[in-house]
């Protein structure tokens, strides 16, 4: 390996050089396990060239591939030196505090062999389509073929993936919700679910689509059944025509939030997670009909998304940060991670349904951002296009990321997530 070892050194001008070892979990790109000596002021590009050279030499790949580098569970964004020195500083602090339980931190330092994990870079999303509406788009959801959007002009739009417009008062018998609406209705006017006193802010069906949970401005969380013999659509929003639908009453009401429930999600069969404007995230046991735990934040939560894959929740609140919470643990700091890059209120966050590390966020600064959980300092990609505030995002269809905003458009970005 001597020639590879020498080359980065010959081009380097920095005095500091580091020992690194490249590992990967993607078997097809594995390279021999040798420590390399690399000058410290290299970034991802230089590391990429090293990996690519080895891979091409070994005939693993034909052409260049882009990789991202994980060091200590964090993506390399600046230079290697920056990151290592930051860890060094952190280590000193830990030693000062006599708190040496964080063994992982100790592996990264000027004098150790740094283990660099490389993964294939998430490809950039491409703008795919832009659907024009007559009014602000306030809600969006998607299945594999259909996109459903709710609008401020009290209409619901069902779009095919191709962008063909199918206006309609909805299909199937989904429950319909719409802001400032007193009643919570079902679609195609099968039922109107009445009970909420104020506008319904959020709704989510459970995994089998037999129950619905909805949260409203009055701080109440209600659970509704959907008759099992009807095929249910996936968490859709429909138009209310109260004259046709039969009235439905809630199966259960969970009161506990003091203010508007802004997001609700089923975490398993019998458990609900809600986020509210009263600065709390609560876990509810549906079977018992009561609250299990609550996590207090210090800002009003605007949106929350819980991931099936990594069992953590990301939240957006009345500031520009996105915070990662782990509802299962209640020791240590509640906020596990903070993602800061937006310049306005983050109105909506959504985990990827296929990759446990990726999520999207839409903000009032007109940007939708694609994030990796492991890169809290910078998002992976910014998706521009909106000219006004983004109000809603969706990544329910793993191929497409969508965002709707107050510029009356729904923008669709194709997510090229061919990883795993």
């Amino acid at each position: 390996m001597a020639e590879v070892q020498d080359k980065p050194n010959s081009t380097a001008s920095s005095a500091l050089s580091l020992q690194v070892r490249f590992v990967t979990k993607q078997e097809q790109y594995s390279i021999p396990d040798f420590p390399y000596s690399i000058s410290a002021n290299v970034g991802t590009e230089e590391l990429n060239s090293v990996i690519n050279r080895v891979l091409i030499e070994d005939d693993v790949i034909e052409k260049q591939k882009d990789f991202d580098f994980l060091i200590g569970g964090e993506f390399l964004r600046g230079t290697l030196e920056e990151l290592v020195l930051r860890h060094e500083a952190l280590k000193e602090k830990i030693v000062d505090d006599k708190d040496e339980e964080d063994a992982e931190q100790k592996k990264i330092g000027v004098e150790e062999v740094i283990e660099v994990e490389y993964v294939e870079r998430t490809p950039a999303p491409e703008p795919e389509n832009c659907l024009m509406h007559d009014d602000w788009v306030s809600a969006v959801d998607a299945t594999s073929n259909w996109i459903l959007t709710g609008c401020y002009d009290a209409t619901l739009h069902l779009w095919t993936g191709k962008g063909k417009h199918k206006q309609g008062a909805s299909h199937d018998q989904t429950v319909m919700i719409w802001e400032w609406d007193l009643s919570n209705n079902n679609v195609s006017c099968k039922w109107i679910c009445k009970g909420h006193e104020r506008s319904v802010e959020c709704i989510k069906p459970d995994r089998h689509a037999t129950h619905l949970a909805s949260g409203s401005w009055d701080g109440q969380l209600k659970i509704w059944t959907v008759e099992a013999d009807k095929p249910t659509a996936d968490g859709a929003v429909g138009e209310s025509t109260p004259s046709k639908g039969a009235t439905k009453t809630p199966l259960m009401t969970l009161a506990g939030h003091k203010e508007s429930v802004s997001a609700v999600q089923w975490s398993d069969e019998k458990e609900l997670i809600t986020a509210s404007w009263d600065h709390t995230i609560k876990l509810w046991d549906v079977e018992m009909g009561g609250m299990k735990t609550d996590i207090a934040g210090n800002k009003a939560f605007f949106d929350m998304s819980w991931s099936e894959l990594n069992k953590t929740a990301i939240t957006s609140s009345a500031d520009r940060h996105i915070r990662l919470y782990d509802p299962r643990s209640n020791e240590g700091s509640l906020v596990k991670c903070m993602f800061t890059s937006h310049n306005g209120w983050v109105s909506s966050v959504n985990w990827s349904t296929t990759n446990e590390n990726l999520f999207v966020s839409g903000s009032h600064d007109k940007l939708m951002k694609l994030w990796d959980r492991r890169s809290p300092r910078a998002p992976l990609y910014n998706m521009t296009g909106h000219t006004e505030n983004i109000l809603c995002t969706s990544w329910a269809n793993s191929d497409y990321m969508m965002s709707g905003g107050s510029d009356n458009t729904l923008r669709i970005f194709k997510a090229k997530t061919d990883l795993k």
């Binding site: 104020r198 003091k258 009345a318 209120w345 009032h364």
Partner: protein
């Protein structure tokens, strides 16, 4: 030989032998006669203190050695008697003072020698300068102008720069005697002797100590820090904003003749009501079971149903207001009738959202609701003695609380808990008890012109904003004078507001600054409120000398809204 000696006892001659002779000689020389006697034989102390096993003598000690001596006893008793009788005294102790000492010993210990404590040194005589020299540089010598000046001040010599004329001599020898020498010395002695000297006390207070100890604003979070949303849509100055009691919406009234209802979370304008005249004030009815918004447009006060929020309540409100309550044989007095009229609402107005229309005889400046939502008051600044009216919604009657004009009334306020009514005239705030119908207090602001006031939700503290740039905090329990006056604004203060839940208050001014302060009121009566300014928010643009016109807090979140002359409403979080 002389060895033969006559023995006197026997009378016989005895011849002395050699031995005898030596014997005699030893005696004569004073030695021990026996020549064999060892003069320095080792001493054996037979009667030592050591107790022997077999004592040399075994005599018991004599009895007398145990008895006190009788003679001694007699002597002692004599002495005791003499002491008792005072005949015998102890010898006086010899004095320990040395007979001779160093007279000048303490010379080096200056402090002990000083007659005057805290000695103040005499003021020093000014040292002679170059002008006093016998050979001064030529610039010190008087020219003609200075000479003339010297001459002109003959009458008032103390005004002269020097008390002598600098002169130049070739050598020190030629210097004549100084005429004033004796007098000057005498003056100096007088100075030293007669002038009282005082020690100059140096001020040891540091500037930092004078600044009151205020907590760090960081510890007082949460408070709004950043502009999060701008609500655009009005085409003229936004005069007034008001929050829906649930905190989901707010309404704004503008000079362009419209009232708009906005959703806070998204910034969406939900409804627009057109009136075609200047909207001076909007205020949402605090009763959560009514959906009503009071609007002051020119000389009308309108209660409109904004139609947002709970549908049931919207319908109920419409139903409630569609029928007029039976007035019975109630007839308003002429005075009330001349001031205000409840007009029936026709179909067209009803469809525009107007539910109740009250015509006033002058332009209405302000409308404010009682906390329960049944009574509301309207203010007409130029209404003279009929400038304040209190209306009751349920009976649809009006009354005039004031009989005489109290001055130019700026704004009024209901106490949040007790039946107390605040009326701000140009300079004072009058506090009326509505039950007893009398004035309880008069808060003296000392300002020239009050613009606005707001009351703490606890009801014991009032802040008043004035057009002369001040914000005053009144503690009603403490005094009728302001507890604190805050002068942070560079221009007229237009609006002040308290937060309902957080210890925050804010003031908005024509200099486009919105200042957020922490105003903690303690339940403990002994502790005065803590007021700390925490944040200055800028954002609005100036428009024809107006800056921020109205501010309000969100009821639940630590957010503040401000409406400005630049047609926008801003939300700071």
């Amino acid at each position: 030989m002389l060895r033969t000696v006559k023995d006197l006892q026997t009378g016989q001659n005895v011849v002395l032998s050699d031995k005898d002779l030596e014997f005699v000689k030893r005696i004569q020389s004073g030695k021990i006669p026996d020549s064999n006697f060892d003069n320095f034989a080792p001493w054996i102390d037979w009667f030592s203190s050591d107790v022997m096993d077999t004592p040399l003598r075994s005599m018991p000690p004599s009895k007398t050695s145990f008895l006190p001596s009788k003679i001694d006893k007699m002597k002692i008793s004599k002495m005791v008697h003499a002491i008792k009788m005072g005949w015998m005294k102890p010898k006086p102790k010899p004095s320990t003072e040395p007979n001779f000492y160093m007279l000048w010993e303490s010379d080096d210990k200056a402090d002990e020698m000083r007659r005057v404590h805290d000695h103040i040194p005499a003021p020093k005589v000014r040292l002679p300068s170059n002008a006093e020299s016998y050979n001064p540089p030529s610039e010190y010598l008087f020219d003609e102008k200075e000479m003339k000046d010297w001459d002109s001040k003959d009458d008032e010599p103390w005004k002269r720069r020097y008390n002598f004329i600098p002169q130049k001599y070739k050598s020190l020898r030629e210097v004549p005697a100084y005429d004033n020498y004796t007098r000057e010395r005498f003056q100096r002695c007088l100075d030293l002797y007669l002038c009282p000297r005082a020690k100059k006390m140096r001020l040891t207070i540091k500037a930092e100590d004078l600044v009151p100890q205020l907590p760090n604003p960081k510890d007082l979070q949460p408070f709004p820090t950043i502009c999060s949303m701008i609500f655009k849509g009005h085409s003229h100055m936004v005069r007034s904003i008001t929050l829906e009691p649930h905190g989901q919406f707010f309404a704004s009234g503008s000079e362009d003749g419209t009232v708009k209802v906005w959703e806070i979370a998204t910034g969406r304008c939900m409804k627009t009501f057109e009136f075609g005249c200047v909207i001076r004030w909007v205020e949402w009815c605090p009763n959560k079971s009514l959906s009503l918004l009071a609007v002051a447009a020119d000389s009308d006060v309108m209660l409109i149903n904004p139609g947002v929020g709970d549908k049931l309540i919207i319908e109920k409100t419409d139903l409630l207001l569609s029928e007029t309550p039976d007035q019975g044989d109630y007839h308003p007095s002429e005075r009330v009738k001349g001031a205000v009229q409840w007009e029936p609402v026709d179909e067209e107005k009803w469809s525009k959202g107007i539910r109740i229309l009250i015509r006033h005889f002058k332009n209405v400046n302000q409308v404010t609701w009682h906390a329960k939502g049944d009574y509301f008051a309207s203010v007409m600044s130029d209404g003279q003695n009929r400038s304040v009216l209190i209306h009751q919604l349920s009976s649809r009657r009006s009354q005039l609380p004031l009989n005489r004009s109290k001055g130019l009334i700026q704004c009024v306020l209901f106490h949040p808990i007790r039946p107390i009514f605040f009326i701000a005239t140009q300079r004072h705030v009058r506090v009326y008890d509505l039950l007893k119908q009398e004035m309880v207090k008069k808060l003296i602001s000392g300002a020239k012109w009050i613009s606005s006031m707001s009351i703490h939700p606890g009801g014991d503290n009032v802040i008043v904003g004035t057009y002369d740039k001040k914000v005053m905090w009144f503690d009603l329990d403490l005094s009728t004078k302001p507890y604190q006056t805050l002068r942070f604004h560079g221009n007229a203060v237009r609006s002040v507001a308290f937060h309902k839940r957080y210890p925050l208050f804010a003031s908005g001014s024509d200099d486009c600054n919105l200042i957020i302060s922490h105003g903690m009121v303690y339940n403990d009566l002994l502790q005065n409120p803590l007021i700390v300014p925490v944040k200055k928010l800028r954002g609005h643009d100036k428009f024809s000398d107006f800056g921020i016109l109205s501010i309000m807090f969100h009821n639940m979140q630590p957010w503040v809204f401000s409406s400005g002359a630049d047609k926008t409403i801003r939300l700071y979080t």
